[in-house]
Structure formats: structure tokens, C-alpha cells
């Protein structure tokens, strides 16, 4: 490209021959915004006419600056002269120009207090909405028994594949690794007592009671709740959910129930896979580094396995499933039209579901311990 250094900066000089006349020249464009400001500030007092006919180029910013200058110096804009080819631009801008001070944004202590108040109210609303949504879901689930035609089998199976089958490898791999880590950890402590073999009980109890279901739920909260929110939120943004409503269909039937049922079916199955993989991880560490042969490990595992651990782990799975699916869908339905809202809701759904899973798991652990089960 040919770059010619022909940028004449804007200039404003009083005409010595004609006192009271300011002659403008150069380029009065956005590029020279600061130079324009300086030239105008430095212009002498006692000006009554401004001659801008020698200006090379002028754009909206140049005209705006001249208008402001005229306002500040109390000049009559009718005494500004422009070339004919510039006049339409000047007229267009003069038509719409007026003074309007920029509104101040309050950033003080009061504003911070206000934000805090709004946050508290919003959180309260969120909790109420979740409870109400849970109620709505239960009512509409019961309605399915009366009107089975509302049930969407294809959609449910599709989501079962997406949330269940597709995440099985990931769940298995991560559980295997955590199982191995727990075995190492146990061995490190138990070796000092010469009780390395108790690693088997440790891994058994840890995975059947807690980690199998907890790992699965956290993984699905990250992987599935966010997907649900994004899918449904995008549909809200594109008015698809409104279209569902005006067609006389129910978004809960169409979008929420298949997702809830899919997760309800798949999370316990994935939990089972996680338990098996975790136990296998423990066994692998036992066989390869703790000198417990696989056969011995397996025999001990079978001997010490208690059904109650398995039950404690498994009963939590459906609770987590409903929780994750509900939060994911509800956040999706609350998306409000913008890309930013979609992002905020997706984050919120992951944060909410993971924290709820951990809180409920902790409460359940306390309860089972107190019940001596």
C-alpha cells in the first residue's frame, strides 16, 4: 500500500488582515481529536467569524468539537463558514446536537450496600424458585400417570445416552484414579502398624459409601447441569420455549421431565460403575505396589464387603440426580435474552449443583453416622 505522509494536522489561526476572523485548516477528523481540542483552546479571544473553508476534511467529531467550542465561547454558529460540500454534514449534525451532561454513576458505600441487599433478595428468590420448581415437577410427574401420552420416550432416551453412556468412560477413569490414590494414602498410614491389608476395607467403605456417588455427582454437575442450562437457555433466547408454550405444549413436559428422568436413571448406574472402578483402582495399587496379590485382595474384599455401605451410597444417587437436573433446567429457563445472562446462569447452575451435592452428602453422612448404620 502507498502511504503518503500528507496528514496536515488541524490548525486555527486568527487572520491578521481581517481582525475577528479565525481561519481553520488541516484535517478536522477523529484521528486528530486531541489536536483539535488544543487548537481550539489556544485560539485567541475576540473572534466573531470562523472560516472553515480551507479545511481538508471534516467529520462528525470535527463538527461536534466546533459546536462545543461555539457553545463555550458564546459564538453564533451561523457565523461559521463551511465549504458547500461540507454543508450537508454540518446541517445533519446541527439538527441533532444538543447538550446533555453525562450521568454520574454512584460507586460509593451506599451503592455497595444496595448491591448487597439486591444480592440477598435475589438469592432468596432463587431458593424459593427451586422449591416451587420442584413442586411443579412432582405435580407434572404425577400427571404423567394419568396422561401417559405426555411422556417423551425418544427425548428421554436421547438424554440418557448423552448424560449416561457418554460420561461412563470419564467416570470410570477418574474413579479408578481416586481409588488408587485412596489405597496409597491408606497404605502410607497403615504400613506403620503392619496393617497394610486393611487398605481393602478402607477402599471398600470409602467407595461404596461416599466417593462412588460423590465423584459421579460432582462430575455430572459439571458436565450435565451446565449442558442442560446452556441448551435450555439458548432455546429461551431464541424464543423456542415461547413457541413451545403457544403451540399448547408444556416446556416442563418437553424439556425438563425427559432430562430429570434420564439423569434419575443414569446417575445410579454411573455410580455403580464408579464404585467398581474405584475398587479396581484400589486392587491395582494393592497388586502392583503393596504386595497384596490380586487373588488375596479379592478374597479379602469379598469377605469384608458389607451391603449397608453399598446401600448408603446408592440411596443418595437419585437425590443428587433430581437435584442436578432440576438446577440445570431451572437456571436454563431463567435465562433472560442476552449472551451474558446465559453465561451467568450456566456458571450459577454448576456452582449451585456442586455445592448442593456436597452439602447434602455431608448432612447424609452425619445422619447415617448418628443412626449407626
Amino acid at each position: 500500500m502507498s502511504v503518503a505522509p500528507n496528514h496536515h494536522p488541524p490548525a486555527a489561526a486568527a487572520d491578521p488582515a481581517e481582525p475577528g476572523t479565525l481561519r481553520l485548516s488541516g484535517r478536522w477528523t477523529l484521528r486528530f481529536a486531541n489536536e483539535i481540542g488544543e487548537a481550539l483552546r489556544a485560539s485567541p479571544d475576540g473572534i466573531v467569524r470562523v472560516d472553515a473553508r480551507a479545511v481538508e476534511r471534516i467529520d462528525t467529531l470535527g463538527v461536534l468539537q466546533l459546536l462545543r467550542h461555539a457553545d463555550r465561547r458564546k459564538l453564533d454558529f451561523d457565523h461559521f463558514e463551511f465549504r458547500d460540500d461540507q454543508k450537508s454534514l454540518i446541517a445533519a449534525i446541527e439538527d441533532v446536537h444538543d447538550e446533555r451532561p453525562k450521568p454520574e454513576r454512584d460507586t460509593g458505600f451506599k451503592a455497595a450496600l444496595g448491591r448487597l441487599g439486591h444480592a440477598v433478595v435475589d438469592n432468596g428468590r432463587e431458593v424459593a424458585a427451586l422449591v416451587a420448581f420442584h413442586g411443579e415437577l412432582l405435580v407434572k410427574l404425577l400427571r404423567l400417570f394419568k396422561e401417559p401420552s405426555r411422556f417423551r420416550l425418544t427425548s428421554t432416551v436421547h438424554h440418557m445416552e448423552q448424560v449416561g453412556l457418554d460420561s461412563a468412560p470419564l467416570v470410570a477413569l477418574l474413579s479408578f484414579m481416586v481409588g488408587a490414590v485412596i489405597a496409597f494414602l491408606g497404605a502410607m498410614v497403615l504400613r506403620d502398624f503392619g496393617a497394610t491389608i486393611f487398605v481393602v476395607e478402607l477402599v471398600n467403605a470409602a467407595f461404596l459409601r461416599e466417593f462412588g456417588v460423590l465423584l459421579t455427582a460432582i462430575l455430572l454437575a459439571g458436565r450435565t447441569a451446565s449442558a442442560f442450562t446452556a441448551q435450555i437457555g439458548m432455546m429461551v433466547n431464541r424464543e423456542e420455549v415461547d413457541a413451545i408454550r403457544v403451540l399448547g405444549l408444556d416446556p416442563v413436559d418437553l424439556l425438563v421431565i425427559p432430562r430429570v428422568l434420564a439423569l434419575l436413571a443414569m446417575l445410579p448406574l454411573l455410580t455403580f460403575i464408579a464404585m467398581i472402578a474405584g475398587l479396581a483402582g484400589g486392587m491395582a495399587v494393592g497388586a502392583f505396589t503393596l504386595d497384596i496379590p490380586a487373588v488375596a485382595y479379592f478374597a479379602r474384599m469379598q469377605e469384608m464387603m458389607e451391603t449397608r455401605h453399598f446401600v448408603v451410597g446408592m440411596v443418595k444417587a437419585p437425590v443428587f440426580a433430581v437435584l442436578i437436573a432440576l438446577i440445570g433446567c431451572l437456571e436454563g429457563l431463567q435465562v433472560a435474552g442476552t449472551a451474558q445472562s446465559l453465561g451467568e446462569r450456566t456458571t450459577s447452575s454448576v456452582v449451585q449443583s456442586i455445592s448442593m451435592v456436597i452439602v447434602i452428602d455431608a448432612l447424609a453422612a452425619l445422619w447415617f453416622m448418628e443412626m449407626d448404620y
Binding site: A4, R31, A33, T60, L61, L64, A339, Q340
Partner: protein, 269 residues
């Protein structure tokens, strides 16, 4: 007048050459050939309307010119530089001197209208004082025909027609000499569409713009376009004033201009 013939844009001498010059453009989606040797000139200071049936690649042509997609073959010269160049200096030159209005405005949904208009100003002229930038944004919004209180609204709070006006205000933020409009009147009611046509015409004259305008709207063609380019059969069939196109012997052109809607639009002018 010398300013018109030796116009320069930030040091790039363009002279009399067309602002946009496309030669032998080829675009392909998989097996489907959309453009097979499209040639097009957009002259300085004109409003060029681009028409064509659905799927003839009007938007693809615009996206190719703007380097939003890279065509299979062809030469594009834009504002005196190579439009396909990846050189950051040349890209910046092109981006600073073009304004684009996408179909639904493409406003940033998390920013207010005023902030949307200020985005290009902030990016290219960070040294501009806040108050001046704010006033400039307000001016652009009012030039685009929006009330001043639209400034603090979010795009989701505006109607479709207002969103287009806000998009136009953002496209005009840097006073670009070249403006691309993708179906500016689509989705507007007839009164709003006529007002938007007039707005484009007025702004084009006041700001000395060159406009590349994709449209389906026959009224727009008759009301404001200096020339109309017809895309059909994967080529640019013709680029001429509307009156000449009506006589062109091509089935699509005949049906388009001499169908009931075409006749109505012609009689309205």
C-alpha cells in the same frame, strides 16, 4: 474539485479507483458452488444494491469482501488495499474505514446502546476524552434516528427497528467512508422501512458514504439505490441502474422486477 478525485484515507491514496473491486470470486460450500467468477465494482459515493434469490450468496459475497470468510479464489481490492491480506496494518486500515450493519444489528447484548457505539471509538482512539466520546456516541445515536434516552438501554430492551438503528449508529461510529448493510429493512414494517431508507439516503449524502447494501426490498432499490447488482446463476448478472435492469432478459430478473411487487414498487416512485 480535487478532494473528490484525490481522496485519501489515512494516507492511502485511492484516487478514482472503485472503493471495492472484486474479480473472479469463487466460493464453495462442500460440493455446492455458490460463486463461480463474480466480478463487481463499487464506485465511490454510490449506493449499490445487491439482490438475488435466496441462496445466491449475497451475504457470502459481503462476508468475503470483509474477510469474514476466505474465498476459494478471486481478487478483492478494498479501499486501495488487498482485501484478502492478513497484514495487520492493512486489516486495521480496512476495519477502521468500514462500517457494517448486520441483519439483526449484532449489538453486544451485555452493553448498553451507548457503550456499543463507544466500543470502536475506545478501540481505535483510546486517547479520546471520556466526555467527548460520550457526546460523539450520543450524536451518532441521534443521527441514526434514535431518541437520546436509548443511550442507556440494553439491546434486549429495544424493538427490532430500534436495534437496527442502534447497529447503524455503531457502524457509523468511526465515520467510515464505506458502509455495508445486510438487509437493513428486513423485518421492519413498511413505514419503518421507508423511514430507514430515507435515513440511509440522508446519511449517505451528509457523510459522503459509499454504501454496499444487500436487500430483498424492492422499495429500497427504487427509492435509494444508484445501481443494482444482480446475483444469479453463481455470477454477477449485471450491475446497472434499476431502470436498465427491468429490461434485462433473464427469467429471474424479469420475475423479480416485473412481478406484481416489482410493479407496485416502481409505481410508488
Amino acid at each position: 474539485m480535487p478532494a473528490a478525485t484525490m481522496q485519501t484515507l489515512d494516507g492511502v491514496v485511492i484516487g478514482d479507483a472503485p472503493l471495492i473491486r472484486v474479480r473472479g470470486l469463487v466460493n464453495r460450500f462442500g460440493d455446492q458452488l455458490v460463486h463461480d467468477g463474480v466480478d463487481l465494482d463499487v464506485r465511490r459515493g454510490e449506493i449499490l444494491g445487491v439482490v438475488g434469490g435466496s441462496g445466491t450468496g449475497k451475504s457470502v459475497l459481503m462476508r468475503s469482501i470483509l474477510a469474514l470468510r476466505s474465498p476459494e479464489a478471486g481478487e478483492i481490492r478494498l479501499l486501495g488495499v488487498d482485501g484478502r491480506s492478513r497484514d495487520p496494518v492493512q486489516r486495521r486500515h480496512i476495519e477502521r474505514n468500514t462500517g457494517v450493519l448486520f441483519q439483526d444489528g449484532a449489538l453486544f447484548s451485555s452493553l448498553t446502546v451507548g457503550e456499543n457505539v463507544q466500543v470502536p471509538l475506545k478501540e481505535y482512539y483510546p486517547e479520546l476524552p471520556d466526555s467527548l466520546r460520550y457526546e460523539l456516541a450520543l450524536l451518532k445515536i441521534k443521527l441514526a434516528g434514535l431518541p437520546a434516552d436509548a443511550l442507556d438501554k440494553l439491546p434486549s430492551q429495544l424493538s427490532g427497528g430500534m436495534r437496527k438503528r442502534a447497529g447503524l449508529a455503531r457502524a457509523l461510529a468511526l465515520d467510515p467512508p464505506l458502509l455495508f448493510l445486510d438487509e437493513p429493512t428486513a423485518g421492519l414494517d413498511p413505514i419503518g422501512a421507508a423511514a430507514f431508507d430515507e435515513l440511509i439516503r440522508n446519511l449517505q449524502q451528509a457523510l459522503g458514504l459509499t454504501v454496499f447494501l444487500i436487500t430483498h426490498d424492492l422499495d429500497t432499490l427504487y427509492a435509494i439505490c444508484d445501481r443494482v447488482a444482480v446475483l444469479a446463476d453463481r455470477k454477477l448478472l449485471a450491475a446497472a441502474p434499476v431502470a436498465e435492469l427491468e429490461t434485462l432478459d433473464h427469467p429471474w430478473v424479469q420475475e423479480y422486477f416485473n412481478g406484481p411487487r416489482g410493479r407496485a414498487a416502481r409505481e410508488a416512485t
